[in-house]
């Protein structure tokens, strides 16, 4: 690690263990929640595809080989079981992200100039991954954006599940049928994010290592 962030320097003065602490890129709670989320999301997406197939919104269905549950009833059981894991894990993540200041420190500020400059750098292959503790503006935008999508997919899912008991939420999405489309497009955004995210993690393997062992 060639550079240390300001906050890391501050903690370096405060604690004697700083030398080892400064090396941690992804703290243990982030790693645990990240992989739990990944697991829950794969279950949700694969069972969700099977549910989609029962009444497709568009002119295509998902191949059975990439769905979960075997039939609609099985897929629903998986979906409504994994939702608890996804939701509880997600809530802990949001609470800790806000409470520890991680969201503020890692994801903010996001400026249009910064995003533009880093997008250009990324496309021309000049984006540095030297310091993994600091996200570039494209990362900031995508990571903040996917948190918003994550919140939206849970809310639209609740709106579809409980259009009577949570009818005000359903109305916020423009009604039951509209909420189905929102739920679908959030899934599409998450899948697109996952593809890019996994490809980039493989291209910069030390980032994957950091998400597994922390350093």
């Amino acid at each position: 690690m060639s550079s240390i962030t300001a906050s890391d320097q501050a903690s370096a003065k405060a604690t004697p263990k700083a030398a080892t602490k400064a090396k941690v890129i992804q703290p243990a709670w982030v790693r645990a929640l990240h992989w739990t989320n990944a697991f829950a999301m794969v279950l949700m997406i694969m069972s969700g595809w099977k549910i989609y197939n029962a009444s497709p919104l568009f002119d295509f269905t998902f191949s059975d080989s990439i769905t979960l549950g075997g039939w609609l009833g099985g897929a629903l059981l998986w979906h409504f079981a994994a939702m608890w894991l996804l939701m509880v894990n997600g809530l802990i993540y949001l609470a800790l992200g806000l409470a520890t200041g991680r969201f503020r420190k890692k994801l903010l500020p996001i400026t249009p100039e910064g995003v533009l400059a880093d997008t250009k750098a990324a496309l021309t292959g000049k984006l540095s991954h030297e310091d993994l503790t600091k996200y570039n503006y494209v990362q900031k935008l995508l990571y903040a954006g996917i948190i918003v999508v994550g919140i939206l997919i849970v809310l639209s899912g609740l709106a579809i599940w409980k259009p009577v008991q949570l009818q005000y939420l359903t109305a916020m999405f423009g009604g039951y049928e509209a909420a189905r489309y929102v739920h679908f497009f959030c899934m599409a955004a998450i899948v697109a994010f996952m593809v890019v995210h996994v490809v980039l993690a493989l291209l910069v393997p030390k980032s994957l290592r950091a998400m597994i062992i922390g350093r």
């Binding site: 739990t36 009444s55 009833g73 629903l76 059981l77 079981a81």
Partner: protein, 261 residues
């Protein structure tokens, strides 16, 4: 595989990696969550399920579904009405949907049909269609939501089930009203008492102001706009007020039993 692993995570101590990876695996968290959920579900429903059952995905999913029954019963607000729509919003044609084709739908002769009333009720007399038609009716235009995801808006008229339960002197402290139907293979479905007593839950005799057609459940269906479509039985032959969970055609195959909207 080994080469791939080296490629992905170069220069990593394998033992350290393994130790840390195990720590971050979701499995433990999942199991703790599952057993918590399962026992909570059992408590909520007092089903006396055995959480020491050998772990299997299927058993786990069943337990979570029971837990979800409890959560939905807790979420159910008897005063929350299903949204209603203007007549112009009615879906035309309203879809026919069943596990059989329309040709195989029950053909019931009105004069041969009687609604049987059983279980925890004071008056167990059977009702002819003529007698039922004399009861006051209410119309609703609500959204029917199928477990498959699609929805359609329809117009249903009939007698609020809670009025009928009162007339027959049903013990409304009982847990369920269980319906048996004329569909081939014997359709049946349990309805929890609180949903049965909901103001919009209806013994339906008309669709779109016309006598309920065969496609939609002649002579009587139970319209429950706070439940998914499969909890709205058609071609009803009998209702039984009971404390026993008697299962249902789809419920037994794995659809969530409460399936509230």
């Amino acid at each position: 595989m080994g080469r791939l692993r080296n490629l992905l995570i170069p220069g990593v101590d394998k033992t350290l990696l393994l130790r840390d990876a195990v720590k971050t695996m979701p499995d433990l968290t999942r199991r703790r969550f599952i057993s918590g959920g399962a026992s909570l579900g059992a408590l909520t429903l007092l089903t006396g399920c055995d959480v020491t059952d050998q772990f299997s995905a299927e058993e786990m999913l069943k337990q979570v579904s029971k837990f979800n029954d409890g959560v939905q019963a807790w979420m159910f607000n008897p005063d929350a009405m299903a949204p209603t729509f203007p007549e112009s919003a009615i879906t035309k044609p309203f879809p026919f949907n069943a596990y059989y084709s329309l040709d195989e739908a029950p053909e019931i002769e009105a004069k041969d049909w009687k609604l049987e009333v059983r279980g925890l009720v004071e008056n167990k007399k059977s009702w002819t269609l003529e007698e039922l038609y004399k009861l006051p009716q209410v119309k609703q235009v609500t959204r029917h939501i199928c477990v498959e995801g699609w929805s359609a808006i329809g117009s249903w008229s009939g007698t609020p089930l809670r009025d009928f339960l009162q007339i027959v002197g049903a013990d409304t402290r009982a847990k369920y009203v269980w319906f048996q139907c004329a569909d081939k293979d014997g359709y049946n479905s349990p309805l929890d008492m609180r949903s049965a007593l909901h103001a919009q839950t209806q013994m339906t005799f008309k669709f779109g102001d016309e006598i309920l057609p065969r496609a939609y459940g002649f002579p009587m269906k139970i319209r429950v706009p706070t439940k998914l479509g499969f909890k709205n039985p058609k071609y009803v032959l009998s209702m039984e007020v009971t404390n026993d969970y008697k299962g249902g055609f789809w419920e037994d195959q794995g659809y969530n039993s409460f399936s509230g909207s």
